[in-house]
């Protein structure tokens, strides 16, 4: 115990307005695309219009002689130096993966793949010239359907001999964490309840608002890359390995980054190409993608088929769950493509006590753009499946969906609880969150109204959707990542410098792109050191400024990076105490630290930490052996994940004549543990819920039969606008995480994970009287209407 823990908090828990905002609301921003460097050149990519083909020729002569063009780079020009884009998560020892060139050399495997790059004086000249590159393709049959791909009738990469990249299995009987699921299924077949369903997680596009952009300056001893990335540190290492450049010769900066949602958790072909181009021409180069390019080639998310079998007793007690996944990798493996479905493996059992569980995932190549992390990454898919199934079980039993959940969930007094998927949930209180949500929602009143509407055959039916979720956050304990074959650790680093003037610099390896780290970290450190919020400066996103880090994804920043900052602050205090004791002519053991001041116990003798910092700076009179300056660093590697949870309730009105769904009420009560800044937490939930609603109702990446992305613009890919999403009621319960000093759990992905099943459960609930038990996502009016027509034709009808 350090004395600092006794001081009362003032900053943590308050809705501080964000420090970041002043720049952002006035346009004083540093987006990568804003950069103009002396002599800077511009890149345009020539992309394959076809999904699968042999490249028979690339004629660059006309483009090379076009006005302003300095170079045209083809795949064969860089075949020996471009390496293969990295996959950091080989999920199986025998995982198969094709070489992943930044510029295609002799074949393309998805529409949009780069086949050449034009380097020119201006972006317009580069783009003009890119249209003059003449590429001839010998088209090959495309593999698009997941099931067909898995059957290996046509191979995406014939050299691999199969379309199956890897198969990953977890079985609770083998892991000794539960029983044999086949036994549970047999018992259910013999007199229990067996629910078999297949759900499709449609392909989504992260669609961050800032298109990706990259600038490389090859002049100087270190080549500097600015990139709209979530992962400057990982990117630096991976670029070094991919392009065989010493890591020490690279500096990566993520300046202001306009959203990511996992979509900027990648080492991209465009980054590699811009790096190679800049080094070739010896001048700074910039590439900024168009929105059409972004939608086409920035990695996609989801795209899984889930075959599910839930076994239960007649009373609704679940006895086993079997999950068979087909996951679309797309044409290549990106940074963590192969691991995304595996993250879901630990979440299908969700908040419930399942005695037996079996999970098998088959990762398959197709001629689509590759998939990778998208907000939630594996966990939304799992949560959707189990929350839909719990509703189906409630329907079978004839019980209320909340009751059936409570019957199966882990009770508050049962924590810590080791799940059938082997995770240890440290804390949670599903009862409290559900009770609060139920009250805020007016659950019983809405059920009553639903009954009335059903009774009078109202063409607009009311449905109530329930989603009681948990998620694993704070990715991740390094030893767990190692056990899962991930190539890196999950720690985070922070350092704190007390400056001579008493101001504080906090350097974090976490790389914010909208999350508000500068504000939240300031609150944490201001409290700990007892300095004003305004005196804390948070620095991040530059490998020169913040040399160590694991970046931002997986709701990890606060839980790991925030705790690292806290621990660094504690180390600063311990060091300062030695100096303070010297200044006060007392023993360090006789000092107490509170509100930024060291005091000799039982006296009024004291000194502020700012004065100590100045003394450590001028170093005129320091204790023997004390090194001048007052700073410290800390690296946090968590022992466990954190497990936020919550209850989301969604009332939808479904017009059975048009199929249109309107969200009438959305209530969420989330337990993200202790809250540093309630304003930021609420904002994360609003945005997360909206993104999950978008999966339920609007968004889908659609390809035609030739493998061309049809939803290739924001006209066709329906990112919701303000009229499309509802106002929602957010509230919280607070069950502190026991795995870190602050009791925080992470909030970045919660809303997205919870909301999709809440909405779809609501729609299905509205349509139950018509014999409907599922509507595939996205539940567009046309889809809902079609399902209703089919149900009507097969004899369903309103009660």
């Amino acid at each position: 115990m350090t004395v600092t823990e006794e001081r009362p908090t003032t900053e943590v828990g308050t809705p501080r307005r964000r420090k970041e905002d002043q720049r952002l609301v006035t346009g004083r921003t540093r987006w990568t695309d804003n950069l103009q460097l002396p002599g800077m050149l511009h890149l345009a990519m020539v992309r394959s219009p076809v999904a699968r083909a042999k490249i028979t020729s690339v004629d660059v002569a006309e483009a090379r002689s076009a006005p302003g063009v300095l170079a045209v780079i083809t795949g064969s020009d860089v075949a020996d130096i471009q390496g293969s884009l990295p996959n950091a998560w080989p999920v199986a020892e025998d995982q198969k993966a094709p070489p992943h060139p930044a510029i295609a050399v002799d074949q393309v495997s998805f529409a949009g793949e780069i086949v050449a790059c034009v380097v020119a004086r201006s972006a317009a000249e580069a783009r003009d010239a890119s249209e003059l590159v003449d590429v001839e393709y010998d088209e090959l049959p495309v593999v698009l359907d997941l099931a067909q791909a898995a059957a290996d009738t046509e191979l995406v990469h014939p050299d691999l001999g199969t379309n199956v990249s890897a198969r990953w299995v977890f079985d609770s009987a083998e892991a000794c964490s539960g029983g044999n699921v086949e036994d549970a299924i047999q018992e259910a077949r013999d007199g229990g309840i067996l629910i078999e369903r297949t759900y499709r997680q449609q392909r989504l596009i992260p669609a961050f608002m800032e298109p990706r952009s990259v600038v490389v300056d090859p002049t100087g001893e270190q080549t500097t890359m600015w990139s709209a990335t979530q992962i400057p540190h990982i990117l630096r290492l991976m670029l070094a390995l991919t392009c065989d450049i010493p890591e020490s010769k690279l500096r990566v900066i993520a300046p202001d980054v306009g959203g990511g949602f996992g979509g900027k958790l990648q080492v991209t072909p465009e980054e590699v190409v811009t790096l190679l181009a800049a080094r070739q021409v010896g001048r700074p180069c910039k590439y900024t993608e168009s929105r059409s390019e972004s939608l086409m080639v920035a990695h996609h998310g989801r795209d899984q088929i889930q075959k599910l079998t839930l076994a239960a007793k007649q009373d609704g007690t679940v006895t086993g769950l079997k999950v068979e996944l087909l996951a679309d990798m797309g044409a290549y493996l990106g940074l963590v493509t192969s691991g995304v479905p595996i993250l879901g493996a630990f979440m299908f059992n969700a908040i419930y006590k399942f005695p037996a569980y079996h999970f098998a995932c088959t990762n398959v190549f197709t001629n689509h753009a590759w998939t990778d992390a998208y907000r939630g990454a594996g966990r939304p898919e799992a949560t959707y499946a189990i929350e839909r199934l719990m509703d189906e079980l409630a329907q079978e039993v004839g019980a209320d969906p909340l009751e059936i959940r409570e019957k199966n969930w882990i009770k508050h007094e049962e924590f810590p609880f080791t799940t059938v998927a082997t995770l240890e949930y440290d804390s949670g209180n599903y009862e409290a969150a559900t009770a609060k949500a139920r009250e805020l929602f007016g659950y019983d009143e809405l059920r009553k109204e639903q009954a009335e509407r059903r009774e009078r055959n109202d063409p607009v039916q009311l449905g109530i959707g329930v989603s009681t979720y948990t998620e694993m956050c704070g990715l991740a304990p390094s030893r767990v990542l190692g056990a899962l074959s991930y190539a890196a650790g999950g720690w985070e680093h922070a350092s704190i410098r007390m400056l001579a003037s008493g101001k504080v610099e906090v350097v974090t390896g976490s790389s914010a792109h909208g999350q508000g780290h500068e504000t939240a970290w300031s609150q944490i450190v201001a409290d700990r050191l007892g300095v004003p919020f305004e005196d804390v400066e948070v620095l991040h996103g530059d490998t020169l400024v913040a040399p160590k880090g694991m970046d931002t994804y997986g709701s990890r920043s606060l839980v790991i990076g925030g705790i690292a900052a806290l621990r660094a602050a504690d180390k600063v205090i311990e060091k300062a105490k030695v100096v303070a004791a010297h200044m006060l002519e007392a023993s360090p053991d006789d000092l107490e630290f509170s509100a930024g001041k060291f005091t000799v116990k039982g006296t009024d003798k004291g000194t502020g930490i700012g004065d100590v910092a100045f003394a450590a700076f001028h170093a005129h009179d320091l204790p023997d052996g004390f090194e001048p300056s007052l700073d410290a660093e800390a690296t946090m590697d968590p022992d466990n994940f954190s497990f936020p949870h919550g209850t989301h309730l969604c009332a939808v009105e479904v017009d059975t004549e048009t199929g249109r769904t309107t969200i009438r009420k959305y209530v969420c009560v989330d337990d993200v543990g202790k809250v540093i800044n309630p304003l930021i937490v609420e904002g994360q939930l609003h945005g997360g819920v909206a993104q999950g609603i978008a999966q339920a109702l609007f968004e889908e990446a659609v390809y035609d039969e030739s493998g061309t992305l049809v939803s290739g613009s924001l006209t066709d890919y329906l990112v919701p606008s303000a009229v499309d999403v509802p106002s929602m009621v957010t509230d919280r319960t607070e069950t502190p995480s026991l795995t870190n000093e602050l009791g925080v759990k992470g909030v970045g992905e919660a809303g997205t994970i919870a909301s999709t099943p809440a909405v779809v459960n609501g729609i299905v609930d509205a349509l139950r009287p018509y014999g409907v038990s599922d509507v595939p996502m996205p539940c567009t009016p046309h889809r809902v209407w079609t399902v209703l027509q089919a149900a009507g034709a097969s004899g369903g009808g309103a009660a």
């Binding site: 905002d21 695309d33 945005g687 303000a722």
Partner: protein, 156 residues
């Protein structure tokens, strides 16, 4: 090349531009007005919204030559004497931005919305912002910001 005379954020500029130059590219690349950003290529996202003679336009939907003889105000020209515009202040107060990329366009459009309707309902705010996409906030706090600004006289 075509000669244009444009006043942007109170400064007059006289330039020769390619006729195909979009207003947003003129603002960003010629004038260094990088506060205004490009989010799409189909005029869906509204990130590039500025004011032309006091009314909102998507500057990716206009050629620079069409701005000849007009007054353009960008996000960078809103604050006066270091004082944030009420709409900027309201976005800050209500946490109506996260990554901030859509924010310039959203603020410019929100100001225009209040000019037409100084006392909008929440639904009217949502409708008025339909042409501006935000991926971070779920719009809830943006609506709150516009309402807050409306009460503070944010249309001016």
């Amino acid at each position: 090349m075509t000669q244009i005379n444009v006043t942007v954020d109170g400064i007059s500029y006289s330039d020769e531009v390619e006729p195909r130059t979009l207003l947003v590219h003129y603002l960003r690349e010629w004038l260094g007005k990088t506060g205004t950003v490009v989010g799409c290529d189909t005029s869906n996202c509204g990130a590039c919204t500025v004011h032309l003679d006091g009314r909102s336009v998507k500057s990716c939907t206009m050629l620079a030559v069409q701005a000849d003889g007009h007054q353009v105000t960008t996000i960078e020209g809103l604050a006066e004497n270091g004082q944030l515009h009420p709409m900027q202040q309201a976005f800050h107060e209500t946490h109506a931005l996260q990554c901030g990329f859509c924010t310039p366009g959203m603020i410019m459009q929100a100001i225009d919305l209040l000019k037409d309707n100084p006392d909008p309902s929440d639904d009217e705010v949502r409708l008025g912002l339909e042409g501006n996409l935000c991926r971070c906030t779920g719009y809830q706090n943006i609506v709150k910001a516009v309402q807050t600004a409306a009460k503070a006289g944010g249309a001016t």
